[in-house]
Amino acid sequence: MTSSGKAPTLDEFRARATLTGLTLTEEDIGHLHKGYVGLLGLMERIPQRWAWAAEPPLVFRADE
């Protein structure tokens, strides 16, 4: 899992939501929290440590 992968509580998520600039109702926050926690669970499959050379490809095309 990535380093920021610890699942936030609903209160922590609500605090974070205020920083996003989004206009969210309490219902929105509940749904998004559920979706985010689910996504974090899936992201546990993403390795946390990478070799320095494992740079992300910016372009990856048919002529690569």
Binding site: T2, S3, S4, G5, F13, R16, A17, T20, G21, L22, T23, L24, D28, H31, L32, G35, Y36, L39, L42, M43, R45, I46, P47, Q48, W50, A54, E55, P56, P57, V59, F60, R61, A62, D63, E64
Partner: protein, 476 residues
């Protein structure tokens, strides 16, 4: 000029229609009128079109007829009626993205791919329904009714190129343009039992197409056969300096490539990808895959089982990348006019605000790793020296159906025919060329369910359709 009925005309393949027009046995006007008549008769039952451009289509058809009568033949798409997913910008014609946000948007110029199709002589019938901005889902809070599956209107047609799949399957156009970021060509092609090709990233210009995720978006065709898709792809492929992801590739005659035999072609069979970790597969799906493999082998292809990385890794990699990039693209509207989005689309675009830069970069790194691992696995087979599968520009056989401008055999990975509602999109594969083939059309002819006619009668027809769909050079 022609003794074909309207029904016959609307179920012609592109190649056959082109041959008839070249021989003077058929006019584009007659063909276009047949499709417009059929749209008027049946489209209200599936709502595949959101905008019909009948006058422009008839004008274009008459022009095509005049050109052909004068000896000018632009190519295999000359005079062929096609339709566009409503995220392709079209000069003077509404391009809504199936969203309230763009419901009155009329672009001034055509998307690059639309321009190419028009230059090839294609006739544009109209704009087709889509999931909002090629994402989300069909929800009641959108400006147009949801597209329904023509085989059974109680079922969904898949998405996001929903209208494209439904219109092709219902014989409401000869081919349609879709787009694919996370399966949006492959899904509706599978759900609606049509062919569809998601080209390699960069092969077809996306300039003038509403973006969803810059680093994964591709544009490609859906049609009734792979040969028809290849003919459309041939008109589209090519470098576009206005698309930063556009590739400089050699010109390939995909239509001709689709006719070549597949004898000797190595095809990777990614069994773990379509069987899943528990190895469970419905008997119908198992038989469909077995039949496909048998046909491949009967045609002389070498089918090797290959174990690629876990499909869940591709899935999550794609989820993170799409969620983040889609938020970046739509952030301003999600903040300022969230009520304009459909419920599902809004939620998905909002979620990207919570993905950190580090999580996004990790997903990009994982994508790179999966790309390398996939290529590595694809080159190997037991006792093999690592000879790559496929060849550059290979599109041999409707069976393979896979445009191969690259030289790995991951391209040939046989993908599962997904059940409706299933998941498991081959996420990394989205940057690779990929094709959706109707391995089994269960005894039905195109548009049959919708109009209750032309029923194929016997079990043999199933076998014939299966074989035909997997046989190079098939004709209808």
């Amino acid at each position: 000029m022609t003794d074909l009925t309207t029904s016959d005309l609307t179920t012609l393949g592109i190649a056959e229609a082109g041959r008839r027009m070249a021989r003077g046995e058929l006019t584009s006007t007659a063909l276009t009128e047949a499709f417009l008549a059929r749209i008027a008769t049946v489209d209200h039952r599936i709502a595949s079109y959101v905008t019909l451009t009948a006058d422009q289509a008839l004008n274009a058809a008459r022009q095509a007829d005049m050109e052909m009568a004068g000896g000018l033949r632009r190519g295999p798409l000359h005079g062929i009626p096609l339709a566009l997913k409503d995220i392709y910008e079209t000069a003077g014609v509404k391009t809504t993205g199936h969203s309230h946000l763009k419901v009155d948007y009329v672009p001034a110029i055509d998307a690059a791919s639309v321009r190419k199709l028009k230059e090839a002589g294609a006739v544009m019938l109209g704009k087709l329904g889509t999931h909002e901005f090629a994402n989300g889902a069909m929800t009641p809070d959108q400006p147009f009714p949801p597209v329904l599956n023509p085989w059974n209107p109680k079922y969904q047609p898949g998405g996001s190129s929903s209208g494209s799949g439904a219109a092709v399957a219902a014989a409401l156009c000869m081919g349609a343009m879709g787009s694919d970021t996370g399966g949006s060509i492959r899904n509706p092609a599978g759900y609606c039992a049509t062919a569809g090709i998601k080209p390699t990233y960069g092969l077809v210009s996306r300039c003038g197409i509403f973006p969803l995720a810059f680093s994964l978006d591709t544009a490609g065709p859906l049609a009734w056969t792979t040969e028809d898709c290849a003919l459309i792809l041939g008109a589209l492929a090519g470098h576009d300096p206005n698309d930063q992801g556009s590739a400089k590739t050699e010109k390939v005659d995909y239509g001709a490539a689709a006719q070549r035999p597949i004898k000797g072609m190595r095809i990777a069979l990614a069994r773990s990808w379509y069987e899943g970790p528990d190895g469970k597969l419905s008997p119908e799906m198992a038989k469909g895959m077995d039949d496909a493999v048998r046909v491949f082998r009967d045609l002389g292809a070498i089918v090797d089982e290959v174990t690629f990385p876990d499909i869940r890794d591709y899935h999550i990699c794609g989820r993170v990348i799409i969620t983040t990039e889609a938020h970046a693209i739509h952030r301003r509207d999600v903040i300022e006019r969230p009520e304009k989005f459909g419920y599902t689309t809004r939620r998905r675009f909002q979620l990207g605000a919570f993905i950190s830069a580090e999580q996004y970069i990790s997903a990009l790194r994982l994508r790179r790793k999966l790309h390398q691992d996939t290529r590595s696995h694809a080159r190997l087979r037991p006792g093999d020296d690592g000879q790559p599968l496929g060849r550059a520009g290979d599109l041999r056989g409707a069976a393979a159906g896979l445009p191969l401008p690259r030289q790995t055999l991951a391209h040939h990975a046989v993908q599962r025919h997904r059940p409706a509602g299933g998941d498991g999109v081959l996420r990394l594969q989205r940057r690779r060329p990929s094709a959706r083939l109707p391995a089994r059309r269960p005894g039905l002819r195109r548009g049959e369910r919708l109009c209750r006619r032309c029923r194929l009668r016997t079990h043999n027809a199933v076998a014939r359709a299966t074989t035909a769909n997997l046989t190079p050079g098939r004709t209808r």
